[in-house]
Subunit: 174 residues, 6 copies
Amino acid sequence: MKSKTPKESYAISTHLVLPNETNLLGNLMGGRLLHWMDITAAIAAHRHSQRVVVTASVNHVSFERAIRLGDYVTIEAKVSRAFNTSMEVFLDVTVETGFTGERIKSNDATYVFVAVDQVGKPIEIPQLTPETELEKERYATALQRRQLSLLLSGKIDPDDAPELKELFFSKKKK
Amino acid sequence: MKSKTPKESYAISTHLVLPNETNLLGNLMGGRLLHWMDITAAIAAHRHSQRVVVTASVNHVSFERAIRLGDYVTIEAKVSRAFNTSMEVFLDVTVETGFTGERIKSNDATYVFVAVDQVGKPIEIPQLTPETELEKERYATALQRRQLSLLLSGKIDPDDAPELKELFFSKKKK
Amino acid sequence: MKSKTPKESYAISTHLVLPNETNLLGNLMGGRLLHWMDITAAIAAHRHSQRVVVTASVNHVSFERAIRLGDYVTIEAKVSRAFNTSMEVFLDVTVETGFTGERIKSNDATYVFVAVDQVGKPIEIPQLTPETELEKERYATALQRRQLSLLLSGKIDPDDAPELKELFFSKKKK
Amino acid sequence: MKSKTPKESYAISTHLVLPNETNLLGNLMGGRLLHWMDITAAIAAHRHSQRVVVTASVNHVSFERAIRLGDYVTIEAKVSRAFNTSMEVFLDVTVETGFTGERIKSNDATYVFVAVDQVGKPIEIPQLTPETELEKERYATALQRRQLSLLLSGKIDPDDAPELKELFFSKKKK
Amino acid sequence: MKSKTPKESYAISTHLVLPNETNLLGNLMGGRLLHWMDITAAIAAHRHSQRVVVTASVNHVSFERAIRLGDYVTIEAKVSRAFNTSMEVFLDVTVETGFTGERIKSNDATYVFVAVDQVGKPIEIPQLTPETELEKERYATALQRRQLSLLLSGKIDPDDAPELKELFFSKKKK
Amino acid sequence: MKSKTPKESYAISTHLVLPNETNLLGNLMGGRLLHWMDITAAIAAHRHSQRVVVTASVNHVSFERAIRLGDYVTIEAKVSRAFNTSMEVFLDVTVETGFTGERIKSNDATYVFVAVDQVGKPIEIPQLTPETELEKERYATALQRRQLSLLLSGKIDPDDAPELKELFFSKKKK
């Protein structure tokens, strides 16, 4: 199976924040953004694997700033690393305010998807060859996120996660 | 401000999986479950704080088994630890199949909410006093999850997270 | 077929009132509440019968007080009486206001469901054994509501409804 | 305030039954139909009163036959009687199957609405002058339904409901 | 196949403009109205052809005046001309304001539908016999709209569209 | 006011076709696509004008091929010409099938938007300077589409539309 680049899986979607998606203060509810990110990430995972994909996990997501009614939310997704049957998708979220058009970074996130066949059995996918500096960095740290995920769900021991330890002993992240 | 117990914030919601919430294999999409969990968790956070609450972060969530069209998804939420202005909500998700009624654990998750006043400024909330064994365990580990969250977003150093290290050196989780 | 208790069918759901569900005065529209009650009642009916269930009728429902945008609506449902292939579900609705957390009774309602097999034919269900005082009272009055329903749809004569007459000659209801 | 005729309040709406509105057997869920009827009835009540209207109650509704995915549901509503600040709306529901176009009566229902001013206080509305035979019959029986509703909610005694007794001692209904 | 009249295909639907369908100024978004018109037009096309119908094209639509939150939008549709396997549906949209009940013409539009069999292949439909003056005028101009549509999509030459030229040289339209 | 280029207004959105958006044959309903296109086009119009924008009209749209349940629909929008207070947005729609990933052109469309101030009054917008060959061609033909639109709504005479005549006498379109 031929390796692919991150840009081959690139997916993007823009959403207008409507009243039903906001709380009493007029801010976008976090769960709705998680939902939108899942769909955009699934498109990227599908473009990489050309298979039906199912969400396997979501890594830690922070919502740093409020997104307002009438704002436009842009979600960009690319596969950041492929494993045997699963792949990590990295998402970057930016927001433009409805009136001024100012465009700012809102947050990022990583989702993991598994590719499955018609009966839902995991199936092998192409490997990923990162191209840009950012893609390479995300490719490298994906392994750490995977070890953290396996550790958090009790599937491996800390000793099986050497790359993860690095993460915890490097001061600067992202 | 008087301390509260987890059961005072208990919130529960049951959802029927409808066609629009499933993928081509007829399985519930992960993003939709994340959205439902956010709303149920917000109700628990609101019951604890009696304030408007906003989602601050979602910790790592795994989707271990497929949830099917026609299944009933029950989400139960309780505040597991209160900090100054934020609180962690622990969610347990169970699923009943539409035809047989078998009821099984699907997954769990933790969301963090911040209580805010009318202009969106964080505001102090009551502390939490866990009662049952499970509540006490979740209260204890909430600190580790908070340290992990701060570490992952680059806000603290590993040296500032002593409880987290414990987590990584205990073999069994949850 | 083994008899079941009301608590075995207990279903509960909590909803946040969002903008799209309110009228120009910011109050929850009655039809939306009827819709939510139907889904929660169907879950209770399904839990009792372990069958696909279809709504057969809704008894008289009053909306006594306005429910506001941002309120949390909790719907609790239990089967109140089982007949051959149909069952009555009793619903209690309470409301918490978004800002103060005050929790008050909103209204109650009864829906009737029929259990059906794969081709939609009605199928026998377990009988119900009420346990608490309230469950026993609702079990008893369910017969009157059934007679009223049959009478209103022209399927029986007043003479076939002796228990109903009692209802009309007892001063106090509910 | 000038009296109005039922046809001045006539409202009609047609809906296509989509997948999300059906159960596992592909039949329209009862709660969705109750929701659609509420909106169409509200339009009729608004046309009669030219005021914001709120649902006060729904009388007994039976769902006699299954409505299928892809069917077209037509809901017709007219005010059937006006009281001081409230009015009853009578709804007739017909269904056309997606493939053959056969058009059959599905069910009928009555909803009661209250007209309110800008702060939600009930406000006087025009009286109704029925014109056709059917409108006159529905106008007459509306009083009985109102007495039954007041009786069921414990607001009047059976002795205060003379017209209702007639209903129960006439063999044929509707 | 027996010819039909426009009134046999008459379809009507009324919608309440809810918050989620409006922009930051509280006006109905154009795309939502296009969506509602498509569904009502499909019902008319189905009533004429008794077949599954698919939207083939939409002619030029202008939105002359803003429709407000809380307004009622009524869409009326009738087949205006039938061709071999396709038909044009003419839509008239009127709006009533939520508070005053004033009812005004909003806009009109024409959609073209194709009738298809179970595998999606176009299939012959009944011809249309217009009855009223307005129906006859719309029947006549439908041919011009069809030629314009074919011309715009490059399927015919101007020389193949004699009726269209008339349209362009008559001063008054609609 | 400084002129802008089409790429400054570029907006893109990708949608997964879910069950509720399809007809009985499993094809995306035309009205839903019109709705999605309106939102994406509004984002482009907003990016050009930095104002609230309202849909003024939609030009002729053809749906040449069926889009299937599970397909991914990508909508790309750029302002193609700016007038005083209005602007034309050109949309290109492509479709990827859910299983094979094949990506094909589906259709194109043009929407016209007006920029308005806080009270809904039209307001001046920046001019557009096309850069690529395709942008220049679309810029040129926008004038013809505008004349056609004005002619169809009876606001100008054919003699006021010299560029339009060219369109009708050139054999090839798009």
